[in-house]
Symmetry: C2
Subunit: 356 residues, 2 copies
């Protein structure tokens, strides 16, 4: 029996994506070959890569606006390195927002490359809010932010207005909501939350911000080289890219980001309403900064932990244990999570209220 | 109908690996979850990673000898960067053997980091042989070589005796033959030839050669950090690692590297004998340096190309077109290629001889 999978990542994908990608492992496009054994230079896979790149730009409303989409490898952690290599000038300055563990990780890597100014941080309250009212230095080479903080359950609901290139790690909320994506210079996202399985990273780059650092960039870390090779600088992660394409096609068929956002709002509202209503629970993130992807909450009385855990396990729920930095629970309700599964969780919370 | 897949990479894997991995995409270990949606921190996946790491060392005979196996991302091209970052001292010197396109790619990246001496090259004859009789500078921080040159069909059948750490790109012949692997400081291999699908890279590191460069190494490029995190520095490529494990288990069950090597010798002998016997064909690599993985050959008279191509296509063969740098044909006969498929190709070559 299929579980209600609230895992923070790798995480749930549409059931039809699992079925189509399993079929492709046995026989891809009736080619008599598995998708795992075909050349990445084969006509069929080049078509997959090109459609994945085009669909990503289309879903973000970025076609014809000077952007290129790349499917790279290494996860967001590799982009923590590629971003300063490609944007931070020798003797330049980078600006970073510190909104959680992953934002801090990005800052740590940038510091190896040069002056890195943390212009605002919510570390003082264990990252339970998004800093506001900060100034962006006009002389920064770029500003880096993290749109959604998977661990702490916070999300940026607005972005700084600035003239410096805005770089955003959208690993955990890419394709989940409408934004004016043309405000960003670079958007990157590890696939394994809202886009596909672990093993590929979507990087969307505005071409005209590249080429200004004066650095000697290793080939595989150089966005320009990946762009020049149409995202085939070396062998891409064939199966993760294919499965990501299947997910992007699913988003598109289901009304694109606009329709997905509406469903995501409905799911988040249902769950947060229950957390706020139910006297046994409390949310961990400041209300105005709550994430619509990762809903973090605590039992007001930890003594009930065993009882609550028993109930949700019986309901065939998995993956809602909180991250050790926050404790409690974290229900990740990414694009592919059906409203029905959220209802099951809410029912369990209500059942729990009735029985303790 | 299943094809005879001679693709140079990504390439053929055992049929049972395709079947088991397709099943895991639908339901992994009867967990009610797809392998694509499970947390990489879940007990089941941690077990996969640990078994993959241990089996890799076991098959190479390196258990208990100070080595760690890692499953990283980025392909061999990323190791072209990680190797100098981790081994080339500031103001130190690296030594490289130039035996083909990929070796040259590695050299190009090392040069960004410091003095890089190409101690021998076969570029003068379009890389159709392996240089011999060169001296390894005793003051080099390491010597880098490429054990098998996929494009040019050559393979190192012996390795230099040296006291400097020996680093080897074994992407296209890992697990294909017995060697004294303890002679190497670092062995790395993109999965997509002999080990699994594209998307993960095996790196085997002798721990005691690390930590001497004085460089400020980005986290994800630092072998020591990957070792400290048991190859989970960040989210690994879950599905490619799982499928690699299935292939490693298959190698082990079939007698390990010793037994695989025997079969590989048989396949290579069959095909090279036909190339040498058949008056219509000629091999491209010097006989003593021929690869047992990638068999490169030409039609003596290119006018027959269309006729020969028609024949092998009718025999359900795919992937034997040569790389543009060499032309002609390249039959890649990796571990998973059955002898029967090689026989089909040899039959086609003989049929071709009878009919022209």
């Amino acid at each position: 029996m299929k579980k209600h999978n609230f895992s923070a990542g790798p995480s749930i994908l549409p059931q039809e994506v699992f079925e189509k990608s399993a079929q492709a492992v046995l026989d891809f496009n009736n080619s008599g070959l598995s998708i795992l054994e075909i050349s990445h230079r084969s006509k069929d896979f080049v078509a997959v890569m090109e459609e994945a790149r085009a669909t990503a730009l289309e879903l973000l409303g970025l076609e014809g606006k000077g952007y290129k989409a790349l499917f790279l490898t290494g996860g967001a952690s590799m982009e923590f390195v590629r971003v300063p290599y490609n944007l931070l000038k020798e003797n330049g300055k980078a600006a970073y927002l510190d909104t959680g563990t992953w934002a801090s990780g990005a800052i740590k890597e940038a510091k190896r490359f040069g002056t890195t100014e943390v212009i605002a941080s919510s570390k003082d309250e264990n990252y339970n809010y998004i800093p506001k009212g900060f100034a962006v230095p006009a002389d920064a080479d770029y500003l880096h932010c993290t749109s959604n903080n998977t661990i702490f359950g916070t999300q940026m609901h607005s972005f700084p207005e600035t003239n410096v290139p805005l770089v955003c790690d959208m690993s955990s909320d890419i394709f989940s909501r409408e934004l004016d994506f043309s405000k960003f210079g670079i958007i990157y996202a590890g696939a394994q939350k809202n886009m596909g399985p672990a093993g590929t990273t979507l990087v969307v780059v505005k071409e005209d911000i590249l080429g200004n650092t004066g650095r000697n960039i290793p080939g595989i870390l150089d966005y320009s080289q990946h762009i020049a090779k149409d995202s085939m600088y070396n062998t891409p992660a064939v199966f993760p890219v294919y499965t990501s394409l299947l997910t992007l096609q699913w988003v598109k068929r289901n009304g694109g980001v606009t329709a997905i956002e509406k469903k995501n709002n409905e799911k988040a509202e249902l769950l947060y309403n229950e957390i706020d209503r139910n006297p046994l629970f409390t949310g961990t993130a400041k209300t105005e900064d709550r994430s619509k992807m990762n809903v973090t909450f605590l039992l007001k009385d930890e003594a009930y932990t065993e009882q609550f855990d028993k109930l949700w396990k019986e309901a065939n729920i998995s993956g809602i244990n909180g991250h050790r930095s926050v404790g409690g629970y974290r229900a990740s309700i990414y694009n592919a999570m059906p409203l029905e599964s959220v209802k099951v969780l809410v029912d369990v919370m209500q059942e729990f209220e009735r029985t303790v």
